[in-house]
Subunit: 442 residues, 2 copies
Amino acid sequence: MNIVELIKEKKLLEAKQELMKHNAIDIAQLFEELEMEDVVKVFRLLPKDMASDVFTELDRDQRAHIVQSITDVEISNILDDLYMDETVDVLEELPANVVKKILKNTSQDRRNLINQFLNYPDSSGGSIMTIEYADLKKEMTVKDALAHIKKTGIDKATINTCYVMDDNRKLEGIVSIRKLILSDFDVLIKDIMTTEIIYVNTLDDQEYIAEQFKKYDLTTIPVTDNEKRLVGIITIDDIIDIIDQEATEDFQRMAAMEPNEEEYLKTNVWTLAKHRIIWLLVLMISATFTGNIIQKYEEVLQSVVILAAFIPMLMDTGGNAGSQSSTLVIRGMALGEIQLKDTFKVIGKELGVSVIAGLVLSVVNFLRIYFLQKVDFFVALTVCISLFFTVVLAKIIGGILPLAAKKLKLDPAIMASPLITTIVDSIALILYFSIAVWLLGI
Amino acid sequence: MNIVELIKEKKLLEAKQELMKHNAIDIAQLFEELEMEDVVKVFRLLPKDMASDVFTELDRDQRAHIVQSITDVEISNILDDLYMDETVDVLEELPANVVKKILKNTSQDRRNLINQFLNYPDSSGGSIMTIEYADLKKEMTVKDALAHIKKTGIDKATINTCYVMDDNRKLEGIVSIRKLILSDFDVLIKDIMTTEIIYVNTLDDQEYIAEQFKKYDLTTIPVTDNEKRLVGIITIDDIIDIIDQEATEDFQRMAAMEPNEEEYLKTNVWTLAKHRIIWLLVLMISATFTGNIIQKYEEVLQSVVILAAFIPMLMDTGGNAGSQSSTLVIRGMALGEIQLKDTFKVIGKELGVSVIAGLVLSVVNFLRIYFLQKVDFFVALTVCISLFFTVVLAKIIGGILPLAAKKLKLDPAIMASPLITTIVDSIALILYFSIAVWLLGI
């Protein structure tokens, strides 16, 4: 019988035994299947140290529910067991009155620290770091250092990298636990520490910090204040979340939405709608320019009605061709592979690709509509010449616009499919009708 | 004067001194600015251990160039210094004749190992693991273990997690270096090791492995064969590359391209074109169905030509509305937040969101075209009713198709903007003309 069933049948003792066979993450996952009323009941079955491990893995609603249902002492017990970054994460998600209640039960020192953390800007180094790092002094021997770690290491987020500071907490060097273990006991820390340190500032943006991790294959990074005093460290598990989050933001922006950090299934309909409507409106209104172009060429359409039949194909192909280019450039920029200085290289590549793609598409299309659909030769020619130039222009515009956005300090990701499509639509139509007027002599 | 300038002026000694102030990754970055003819010259300035570190960070072309320009002994020296996964990565990128030349200089044992690695399927656990892990026995004391690590640790990819195996190399437990350091010297490994191990198989897909890292906040994972014998480990720095790579693949598929692992700027125009043309062709041909619909309603268009002016707006808005939904669902599925069993939840959410978005867009559009553009009341009504239903259908289709793709064992990412746009276009037009016929009595 599985745990959820045991709980439903109120066999709590058996449920507890079953629970203890699992790790905190799997238990947290199991909580997702529980009814809200059972959440607190099951949570209280967990031994103290397991309780806080499970707590950090629960989702926002369940955390809030638990905090509001348990005693102040129980809350303090959980929060005391959490690392500083987790504590702050939890507090940020809770309603203000609950936070007040919790802070009341916290020591003055820790309260000050928490308030300092809550004041770091969103997505800054300060807001994602934790303060539980292993600290050493450069005069220590390896033996001293290992003894110091043994004494204090239990509370640290990681001891895989240790940080060497002077008396003013200024960061002087780092030394890996591996180096400590591989070195002889009487060697001094200052002789084995690395002084060439990759570090970030409390105010650096998380995207920049993630780049440092990737570039230097780090698993932790020290965070310093403006005086280069060590104030915390960031560990790689948080960076993985940030990498996913930044990619998700790009996906959302590229599909013309305001980014939303919450999981889709956990976001309510109003919030989902709010994040989507503004861009839909903007793009809808922009698309009316395209309509105006068609209106302007009403006479052309009326004399050769068949021309209307190729409008969707032209518009869609132009949009797709442009989106391909903009997607590659936006992603390349996000990964740091394409920079502003590469603008001419991008134009060169897109010109080459678009000429090839444009030729292939035009020829295939010509064969199809002239021989299969038996369309008039000059109409077919009009369609295919327009198609060729649409693809070329779409790809060059798609390649340039993300770089232009960057130049203007905008997010390149907004220059994606929907916006490119709207822009390319107008160009495709003007080209199409102009070529029609010229070739068909309307 | 910077290093590149020093090299250009052939001040190699000074260049070497300057180089030694930097770490391997920064030196590798500097290589990107060098002319190909200087690459080998500068590479030979590096001391032996630094040379292999820099080598793994260089790009494919430069690696191949170096390997083909240096002596066999130099190649062996570099490869001997690399971890197995790096060696295999390097070999996979080199031309076959160069690989042959290298393998000739390798011991039989290592050659067998390399061949085994080269045989693991692409993107499998076996192909990304490395074999340099710290191994312990459960009968060791902590003191023995630390001594063993001290003796062998220098060659290991990481010692932060150590692996306990029986005599048949069967994985029995893991113990972190932290636990070793925090434990007393005479404690037995078997008493502190964790036996509840998260591990993967050599044949597991890298996407699944990355999910395990995220789910359990791991920094390494053991890789076993079908008999649960330990054959290697995967470290988190490789996982970060995989997470980026998987997201990039999704970006590319969602913009209707065949995924391409190479960096944009390093891919030639033909390859770029090849990855884009097939989908452009497929979508172009699909878009002709939309053209056929317009042709079918030629008479309607001829009697109320103004209707043509709203076609781009309807098509674009439908496409955008659908892409928003499909993007959220595709990304949610990639992150494991949305599963097949959530299909009805997704439909419910999209129905709600689309009714809100559809209403807002229709009302705004009605006000604009009726009052500002002075379009006939019934035409305005036709446009807005079509718009509403297009948005609703687009969002529901956008939400369902990625899930349907998964059900059919296809990649959900192909059900993105371009394909959704093509499908929604047809629906939007049929709706539009049907409502026009009905409301305007054509």
